[in-house]
Amino acid sequence: MTVSPALLSLLLSATLGAGADQVRVQTVDGESVDALAAPAGTKAIVFLFTSTDCPISNRYAPEVRRIVSEFARQGVVFRLVYPNPAEQPSAIREHMAAFAYDGAFQALRDPGLALVRHVKATVTPEAAVVAGGRVAYVGRIDDRYVDLGLERPAPTTHDLADALTAVLAGKPVSRPTTQAVGCFIADFAR
């Protein structure tokens, strides 16, 4: 399913936490919305930065869907963010369908990189967890990729899930920033 623009603006109507700045991004349909707005009762927002043709980003799709299914029912809202201004809405819709993101995520475009700057994301894929008006975590999903061209057969840490578990338990995130490995968002601005 795709979230209709009307429904999405409704979902984005309340800003999460007190005192958070507005961060203007676009829906896939081109409507300007505040990325940090979320329905009442939302405990955290996860922004997952992605791009349609970054292979590392795409390989994470099944893992990301597992994390969504585990945490969405616990009051966590997931938003897939496409920071590459060259990625058009049609390509984004195709990408969401191909990797079965439809229904699991609201999709946002961040062509002006406002949200990228707000959470200090650097690559795709990278996750940012915003809770209580603060960026509680930014970094890798897990440690499967150690570097470009250097990959573990299986991850040994699950950084995003650990961060969400801590946030939901009201505890500090033990490692609030980690180094994500993937395609540089900086390249998209060239």
């Binding site: 043709d53 970054c54 292979p55 980003s57 795409n58 390989r59 994470y60 799709a61 099944p62 893992e63 597992r66 994390i67 585990e70 590459n84 060259a86 191909a98 990797f99 079965a100 700057r117 200090k120 650097t122 690559v123 897990d142 440690d143 499967r144 150690v146 570097d147 470009l148 061209g149 250097l150 990959e151 573990r152 057969p153 299986a154 040994t156 840490t157 699950h158 950084d159 899930a161 650990d162 969400l164 578990t165 033990s174 490692r175 980690t178 180094q179 490995v181 395609c183 540089f184 968002i185 900086a186 390249d187 998209f188 601005a189 060239r190």
Partner: protein
């Protein structure tokens, strides 16, 4: 997935991404890039410096439909990946060339020099200017479709395999019958991945037995999960396989390899799941020669199957060597190891002590398994020592270690096991030299294979087939006692099997344990009285024991079971003659001759007949 508590990060073995630089550069660039690009006349530009590097080293894979995940054909394509390109070239992850650049030179070698990598780094740091004049439309550095032209036969997986979206490395073996009605001679085999974005390399073998087909049929869907059957082999003296960016060239006609009818292609694909289900249907094109080859290369293999790495050991080393008994020209080398290997090298020490490197890979990556083909074959004199030395890291600090925490790692074909082979393809001056080389080398490789079988037997002690295969290798090496042990164990696993008793008897015979051999043949015959080969072999044992009357009875039973096989009558004739019954011997030879044996056998029989006739007078 299970969320965990606190984690210590494992220290990456390479320089971490300099993202602070990239990011701060990027923020600055939003304001200043245009001016930077315009201002510096001396600066590195895409048009002048970068486009030729990308065209020559990247575009052959990074084009629409190519193996690369995205195209790098225009300024726009490249500038949108600029920092990524700088990062992956800096790490020498791309272009994927693992060998030391001083090795070879090899065919299809496209490494970047340190200066070229520096140029890319500088270009990105300066803002990635396009420069003037704009480069001409990029020259196409690749060929669409079949790289070697139209194949004589194309074999395609009839129904695509659907690769699941999840996981890191996926392996599956596909079995493709080759539709040829006659023996062919093959100059090249070109592999097309079908879905180049996920097919990462192909390991190809030929199976003239139905073994691989049976493994395929036993599992639903195209292909099977498991190991390549022992009966699936390289064609004599040739490599088969594919890695992105490599096409095995046509071999000269006189070096073509023989393809028998009813041969199956066995294609093991190493695939990288993409995050979504991917259909995979590879094709293989075969290019035939119109004539039989006049030369055959030899395939030498150095390596150890005794690999046994304790958990946590960072520098486990294996070495092996072999001194060539004839002059050889090294055509190509292919190192093979799995995830824990770190440093892989092979070299040749000439009789005068000069050392020539064959291959050196300081940062072994299981994912890039090239065949390294020398542009000019490396001539090595008789007496040259070929050697290999591989080092493995089975510690938790090796991110590629498939076991976390590390476990004992032993030899095995599964990617979670370890291997360490250096395949070396050589040509000899002539057929006689090839014969000398093969006869000298074969016992070495057999002995190593037996070690591998013993490791597999330890892991799968109830697999009688492994025992049988190991026993046959032992017999070929003349190790009759070891063969007896393996066949006896096999018999223990299938006690009612006449064939198992027969096999054990065969090994006992080779070991000159004739009483025991006769006993085992009799047991085989008590299970299957119509076991013609057991009657024959028991007859042979009895002949050796000079029990001619008993031997005659076995051969009589043999010719009754196989009345149209001349050999039975010939053996019977020999037994009669040994027993002094020359008239009956002559009758048996006549019976054999009526069955029209091959001429060389027939002439020998006629010679014997004449001798027996003399004795009847």
């Amino acid at each position: 997935m299970t969320p965990k508590g606190n984690h210590e990060d494992t220290k990456p073995r390479r320089k971490p991404l300099d993202v602070s630089f990239v990011f701060s550069w990027f923020r600055g660039c939003i304001l200043a890039c245009a001016t930077v690009a315009a201002a510096s006349a001396q600066s590195v530009t895409y048009s002048k410096d970068i486009a030729p590097l990308i065209a020559g080293r990247c575009a052959m894979c990074h084009h629409p439909g190519g193996s690369g995940p995205f195209s790098l054909l225009s300024y726009d394509d490249v500038k949108r990946r600029a920092a990524l390109i700088a990062a992956v070239t800096e790490r020498r992850y791309m272009p994927p060339w693992k060998a030391d650049p001083s090795n070879g030179p090899f065919i299809d070698q496209h490494p970047l020099s340190d200066d070229e990598i520096g140029l890319i780094r500088q270009w990105v740091a300066e803002g990635g200017a396009e420069g003037r004049p704009a480069p001409p439309a990029p020259a196409r550095t690749w060929t669409e479709g079949w790289q070697l032209g139209k194949p004589d036969v194309v074999v395609t997986l009839p129904q695509p395999y659907v690769l699941p979206p999840d996981g890191t490395d996926a392996f599956r073996i596909f079995v493709l019958p080759i539709p040829t009605a006659a023996v062919r001679f093959v100059r090249a085999l070109e592999f097309r991945p079908g879905n180049p974005k996920v097919v990462h390399h192909a390991n190809i073998r030929l199976d003239t037995t139905p073994a691989s087909r049976h493994l395929d049929e036993a599992q639903p869907g195209p292909g099977y999960d498991g190991l390549i059957a022992h009966s699936a082999q390289y064609p004599e003296g040739h490599f088969l396989g594919w890695t992105p960016g490599q096409v095995a060239p046509l071999v000269p006609k006189d070096l073509a390899w023989r393809l028998d009818v009813h041969t199956d292609l066995v294609v093991e694909l190493h695939m990288r799941p993409s995050g979504k289900p991917e259909p995979v249907a590879p094709s293989i094109g075969l290019y035939f020669s119109d004539a039989a080859p006049t030369r055959t290369p030899a395939m030498l293999r150095l390596g150890r199957q005794s690999i046994d790495i304790p958990p946590g050991q960072k520098d486990y080393t294996i070495t092996d060597s072999y001194v060539v008994p004839v002059d050889v020209d090294v055509q190509a080398v292919q190192p093979h190891a799995h995830y824990r290997a770190r440093d892989v090298r092979g070299e040749a020490t000439l009789p005068d002590g000069t050392v020539r490197p064959l291959i050196a890979i300081k940062d072994w990556d299981f994912r890039w398994q090239h065949v390294y083909r020398f542009v000019t074959p490396l001539h090595l004199l008789k007496g040259t020592r070929l050697s290999m030395r591989y080092t493995y890291d089975n510690s938790a600090e090796n991110p590629r270690n498939p076991d976390q925490p590390p476990k004992r790692a032993r030899w095995g074909q599964r990617s979670s096991d370890e291997m360490g082979d250096l395949w070396i393809q050589v040509l000899t001056r002539d057929a006689a030299a090839l014969d000398t080389l093969v006869h000298d080398f074969r016992p070495k490789v057999l002995a190593e294979d037996i070690i591998g079988y013993e490791v597999e037997i330890e892991k799968r002690p109830s697999d009688a087939g492994l025992r049988d295969d190991a026993a046959l290798l032992c017999l070929e090496l003349g190790r009759a006692d070891a063969a007896v042990t393996h066949f006896a164990a096999s018999l223990g696993l299938k006690p009612g099997s006449a064939a198992a008793h027969y096999n054990l008897a065969t090994a006992l015979t080779v070991g000159h344990r004739l009483d025991e051999a006769a006993e085992e043949y009799r047991r085989a015959l008590s299970i299957d009285a119509a076991y013609a080969k057991a009657h024959n072999n028991l007859g042979n044992v009895l002949m050796q024991q000079r029990k001619f009357g008993d031997a005659i009875r076995q051969y009589q039973e043999l010719v009754r079971l196989q009345p149209s096989a001349p050999n039975g009558f010939a053996n019977l004739a020999a037994a009669y003659a040994a027993d002094g019954q020359f008239e009956r011997a002559v009758e048996a030879i006549d019976a054999a001759l009526r069955l029209q044996p091959p001429e060389n056998v027939a002439s020998e029989l006629r010679r014997q007949r004449a001798a027996y006739v003399q004795r009847t007078r």
